[in-house]
């Protein structure tokens, strides 16, 4: 009963935040400098009449209040309008790009969680050992590397000098595949470098958080109780230490989602990876409002849902959660 109420409360909070973000986005894009119609009509030789018609086509001639209401309705019904640069339905463009980004993020997330948390546990259990020290130095280094820089470095080393991995795109242009398997391998080969560039920082972050949390938890009194009961080190880890370390990790997970999206934009730009990040980057340059609004809306939703999920996980793990 308490749990349902808690989930409901969190859900409503999420909706309110989402609404605030949509509103903020709407005004943000109206305040940002640059007139998209002027950009579109690069020649500058367009007659005022044509400019007005373009304005009308995109609904930019309406008063701001009306634009806002239309905008709200469109966001909710999934109509993101026509892209100013591509002149096709934004939903369709995003759908094309989304698959690639989801593949990249899914792969990255699995690796970050498995490797980041896994190595964190190993280091914490062997605190002070050589393994621990090596992992610590590696993660501190990884943590401080800028994503675009690692990306560029990898392109130079593995793409150009060693020439073992493709440096851009998602499929080799003009390639003819004998089977789906061959295509999948090509796809994965294109994913390797962007994924690595994307995960280094977050993996290091997860490593550091897991390690420090677990080291802290291992000094708690109830761990000594567990040992006193005759539990083996492994059982202490699985039954007592790890569940208690999950709380900060779950919180990090929610933060991670917003961070990794930022990382994806950098990585996709560096690797000319045809995903949402690159789409957004281009859209910013070209002031393609409909695309930007739609992608911001999507990412905001994803981030909020991640937060919502982490709140619920937190509640499920920690019996002390009673209030908001």
């Amino acid at each position: 009963m308490f749990k349902l109420k808690y989930i409901g409360k969190k859900f409503i909070q999420m909706l309110i935040t989402l609404f605030a973000i949509i509103t903020f986005n709407f005004f943000l894009f109206r305040i940002l400098p640059g007139d998209p119609v002027k950009l579109l009509a690069r020649s500058g030789a367009l007659s005022q009449e044509s400019l007005d018609r373009i304005h009308a086509l995109f609904g930019l001639d309406q008063p701001l209040g009306i634009q806002y209401l239309i905008y709200l309705k469109n966001m909710i019904t999934g109509k993101y309008g026509i892209s100013i640069t591509y002149r096709t339905d934004v939903g369709t463009i995003i759908a094309e790009r989304m698959g690639n980004t989801v593949a990249l993020l899914a792969l990255a997330t699995v690796l970050i969680i498995v490797i980041g948390i896994g190595t964190g546990v190993i280091a914490a259990m062997r605190r002070g050992s050589t393994t621990d020290k090596v992992l610590l130095v590696a993660s501190m280094t990884g943590w401080s590397l800028p994503t675009f820089w690692t990306g560029l470095l990898m392109i130079v080393v593995f793409g150009v000098t060693l020439n073992v991995l493709p440096v851009s795109g998602i499929l080799t242009p003009g390639a003819v595949y004998t089977s789906t398997g061959a295509m999948l391998i090509d796809y994965l080969r294109h994913l390797i470098m962007p994924t690595i560039a994307l995960i280094i920082v977050d993996m290091a972050e997860f490593f550091l958080i897991t390690r420090s949390t677990l080291v802290d938890v291992m000094t708690e009194d109830f761990i000594l109780t567990a040992k006193g009961k005759g539990l083996s080190e492994k059982k202490i880890l699985w039954r007592h230490a790890l569940p208690n370390s999950m709380l900060p990790i779950v919180t990090t997970l929610a933060l991670y989602v917003s961070l990794v999206i930022g990382g994806a934009i950098q990585v996709e730009t560096v690797f000319s990876f045809p995903g949402m990040g690159q789409l957004m980057y281009d859209a910013v340059l070209k002031r393609d409002y409909p695309i930007l609004e739609a992608s911001f809306f999507l990412f905001a939703t994803v981030t909020l849902v991640a937060n919502f999920i982490s709140d619920i996980l937190y509640m499920l793990i920690d019996p002390r959660v009673k209030e908001l």
């Binding site: 009194d221 000594l224 006193g228 005759g230 539990l231 083996s232 039954r239 208690n244 019996p319």
Partner: protein, 317 residues
Amino acid sequence: MKILDIKDLSIEFKSKAGMVHAVQNVNLWLNEGEILGVAGESGCGKTTTTLAIPRLLPKNAVITGGEILFNGEDLAAKSEKEMEAIRWKDIAVVFQGAMNALNPLKTIGNQMMEPILLHEEGVSKAEAEARVKELLEQVGIAGHRFNNYPHEFSGGMKQRVMIAMALVCRPKIIIADEPVTALDVMIQAQILELLKKLTKEYKLSMIMISHDLSVLSELCDRMAIMYAGRVVEFGDAKDVFKNPKHEYTDKLIHSLPDISGDRVFTGGIPGYPPSLIEPPAHCPFYDRCERRDDSCLGDFNFTEITPGHWTGCIHHR
């Protein structure tokens, strides 16, 4: 019958400043069915000595010498695997600072069943649950609170849970490390009463640590007084309390508890206990002792001066 016999036990901690000689050549024993009290001011080595028995010392501790004989076997020489089988099954602990000794994410019922399911093969969950609930009732907690989490209990209640938990496997020995220190006075008395009752009922042997000598003298059969890593006096509890044979014991008996529960000496003895990094070979109380003379500077010599009463003081009364 000695159920536990600690012989010449020495324990050191590795620290940045050097090896800390926290326990030096300690000798004491526990008779079956008896309560042994261990007293002494904070930092004198009570916890270190007693946690060495189930080998629950921190990683930087080393047992540098001596034996811990339990049923004739030396626990100090056992492997970690062998110790795992002995912990809680034979020797259970009510830890110092029990406020955080329970895992906040698990129900107390689950935590109490854990040792049963771990040590006793063939005991079903239902049987374990029944046993746990019965023990909860015995320490004055309603059985239906089995499914409650630690944060739903008060400090005194948590301590009761800890005591009940120590009993779940019917251990032979219970080590209670300052089981009431953090609790308020009314509850202290209740918990001590409860411990005494349970020791009788379950025919337990118990080591009870406290820095409150008056509590120990009432509760215990035998008593050990520790100072700066050494047992300076050991004997029948009433005897030690009434006829202290070591100057430090005498001072401890005549001290009053201060607000924090730590003892202050009414006489106001100047000085501090010696450094444990380079402890003296002679009586550790020498620097602060009013009766000291050059004969005290010989090696500390723990001897039996009347049957069953041991002291390290050569000027014993």
